[in-house]
């Protein structure tokens, strides 16, 4: 029984580590901030869940599984929220997703000045797709993100006008 548990938890841990590592590679290799965020945020949650599940099976002292569950809950809640907050901040500050149009030429407003990588060359992504990926987990994120820059500038301008 113990051995079986051990094997299951070993598999879970290995899978989790793989996910985590894949996320790390993604963060290194992806062409721009939004795609990197996509790699990081998905594997952050998934890998963490697997690793913690692996540890849970090992039991340990009485309080340990409770704490593990708490950690899992925390990560599960905070990690996507943090990703959302970050993407939102990036969009607010005017960082445009790097993207290509239908013909494969880069869009003029692409800001991430990375050497073109294989992923980037596929060239089918439209800007909308790109943001959509990052914010896919939270529909509201997309809405908020799309709305913010539009309403921010007028507000700032209005203020400027009033003061001067």
């Amino acid at each position: 029984m113990d051995l079986a548990l051990d094997i299951i938890s070993a598999i879970l841990l290995a899978a989790g580590t793989f996910f985590v590592f894949a996320g790390g590679v993604g963060v290194m290799r992806m062409p721009d901030f939004y795609t990197r965020m996509h790699a990081a945020s998905l594997t952050d949650t998934g890998g963490a869940a697997l690793i913690i599940a692996g540890l849970l099976l090992q039991g340990g002292l009485t309080l340990a599984p409770v704490k593990l569950l708490a950690i899992f809950l925390f990560l599960f809640l905070t990690s996507p929220t943090a990703s959302y907050a970050l993407v939102n901040a990036a969009l607010l500050s005017g960082l445009k997703p790097r993207a290509r149009n239908e013909t494969g030429a880069p869009l003029p407003e692409g800001e991430a000045l990375q050497p073109v990588t294989r992923l980037g060359k596929r060239g089918t992504n439209t800007p909308q797709d790109n943001t959509g990926k990052a914010a896919a987990k939270q529909p509201a994120a997309k809405k908020a993100a799309a709305k913010k820059p539009a309403e921010k500038k007028p507000a700032a301008n209005k203020k400027a006008a009033k003061k001067s």
Partner: protein, 100 residues
């Protein structure tokens, strides 16, 4: 004994990922990439600590991992607020320019 090696392997895997995150933090290129790196690094540290506390046979040290998870979140929100206030400052500066 087998489990220890599994833990050890997991630790090394997480450590390598942490290194990747650090490298991303170092090369940027945008500041958001750096924040992303910090956030990711924090999450990986949580996992690392959790696994190490099992590896060393002291699961009572899981408190630490919990605390890290919390702190990490607060850090990201602080960054978000910082970006907002920066926008305001920029607007104010633009206004000053316009005033001249």
């Amino acid at each position: 004994m087998m489990m220890e090696w599994v833990y050890f392997g997991a630790c090394v895997g997480i450590l390598v990922t942490m290194t990747l995150a650090v490298v991303r933090g170092l090369i940027g290129p945008t500041i958001f990439d750096r924040v992303l790196a910090v956030n990711m690094f924090g999450t990986k540290t949580v996992l690392f600590l959790a696994v190490v506390s099992y590896l060393s046979g002291r699961p009572d040290f899981l408190d630490l991992a919990l605390a890290y998870a919390l702190i990490n979140f607060i850090g990201v929100l602080a960054v978000l607020l910082f970006f907002q206030s920066r926008e305001v400052r920029r607007a104010a500066e633009a206004e000053k320019e316009a005033g001249k």
